[in-house]
Subunit: 332 residues, 2 copies
Amino acid sequence: MEDDRPGEFELIRRYFAPLASDPGSLGLTDDAAVLTPEPGYDLVLTKDMLAAGVHFFAGDAPEAIAAKALRVNLSDLAAKGARPRGYLMGLALPSGWTEDWLKGFCAGLEDDQNAYGIRLLGGDTIRSGNGLQVSITAIGEVETGRAVRRSGARPGEVLFVSGTIGDAAAGLKARLDAGFCQAHDLTETEEQHVLDRYLLPRPRTGLARPLSEFASAALDVSDGLIADCGHLASASAVDITIDLDKVPLSDALQHLKVKAPDDFAHCLNGGDDYEILACVPAEHAAAFQKTARLAGCPVAEIGHVEAGSGAVRLLQAGNPVSPGPESGFRHF
Amino acid sequence: MEDDRPGEFELIRRYFAPLASDPGSLGLTDDAAVLTPEPGYDLVLTKDMLAAGVHFFAGDAPEAIAAKALRVNLSDLAAKGARPRGYLMGLALPSGWTEDWLKGFCAGLEDDQNAYGIRLLGGDTIRSGNGLQVSITAIGEVETGRAVRRSGARPGEVLFVSGTIGDAAAGLKARLDAGFCQAHDLTETEEQHVLDRYLLPRPRTGLARPLSEFASAALDVSDGLIADCGHLASASAVDITIDLDKVPLSDALQHLKVKAPDDFAHCLNGGDDYEILACVPAEHAAAFQKTARLAGCPVAEIGHVEAGSGAVRLLQAGNPVSPGPESGFRHF
């Protein structure tokens, strides 16, 4: 069978080069990209790999797959207080790829490049033995020494989280079980909301600056709220208490909390939230909350840091509760 | 069936963290790596993705797969005149992975980290829908403004190539056809040589400094000598003439040239050589050749650059010859 789809060089020329307007990309005509670092800044580097059937559904719109692959990396940069600088992309295409699919994928990248101020620097395209895989390395910049780590939390600090928690996990349940939303009386708007939140993370890039200014520790919630709190607590060698009544919820999750407490409990620690969890010294808490709101990324106080050795404690109506059977979503 | 293999966090702790001794990796306990760039240096970034069945055989030793994945990226850095600084690795493991396999893979990485002075900065491990895929982003450093591009060749310059050409392609033929070497009377030593060269690229990292000092344009030969000369010629908007009689050959390829001219012609432009092709102003040619030899990476003069618009001309015994049917190996 003759294959009249473009080869690698033509793909680069037609689809990827227009995404690579940073001069450092050398127009994707070279073996590598060349970046002159901004004096006074550190580089923050992160890499997330996504595979069809694990991180997204193979039939998802190509625009959405592209956006998710880029956004999970942008979320990591934001959590470290870094603003996006550029990215390299490895794309393993299954044998049945079409040009229309690739057009949609690149349109999704282009929209997000414009929305988040990041540009393609380089990459590689290969045939995949099987499903689609997207591997993105994103590079961000933060003032020297100001990158926010997981390990900086100290007793007495306040725990904040951005956005709302549990929506993406509920969206995944709705994808896997078409009757899920109806069974729990979610409205059409609520159903659409959770489906959207699963399909398209919303990286809190606006929080990068407030975080690098005020936070002592932060990460993005990808494994689950409680699991990721555990990562923060153990990297910082502190204990963290979460007041579950204060965890911000969308209408859909409020609804689920009442109608289906077990499903709700799973969603609360289901992962894929891509919200930011941050520890802030008490004296900066008000300023952090204000600058976050002004940056368009409101944060809620949901707990506090105590002396300890990596434990996470949960409170509900003022009483300790157990974290339940789920200990976070396994992407691997 | 119970799966008693380690999960992602345990994998990181047990196998990957020991490879991440650069403080910027934050011990692989964070969302990202943090690099403080060296003042006065540019960063060179490259990404190559390798898949089982496309770039290596799934049954190859895990040490060799690891080495190849790292080395093809080191080769790109060397071609740009950059010394290795660090790398991020995305690893998509097929469902049947074993801890023994992973031990071998990480041992291969460790050996090469020591040999080439590069360290793991971060990455991601996921389940692969099918075969193994390795996606590496390598970062190098070169004095500001001294990165060697494809586009700098000028008429009158001398064309050099490192090492020998065609061995890896002959090695691939030998892998695909067990009778290939015997059919053409290659000795056991010659057979082992070409098999080795296919399995394990030898990135010419010693050439980085001579290239950034003397070369006006360079790239590494991965698609094939003639095909990559074409890339250089067209990026630089010049014509390039290769004197085929001057292309350095191993004993095995000399042998093949006599016994099987058609196979030889394919190998000459077969790709996967990972040797460096460089254009050097005539007045620096002797100095380049000398410093390259002192760096342990001898180079041979094989042609020259003329005014033109991207054409590659071939000479044999002083007469023009046609490039033949092969126009480079397609990795995609």
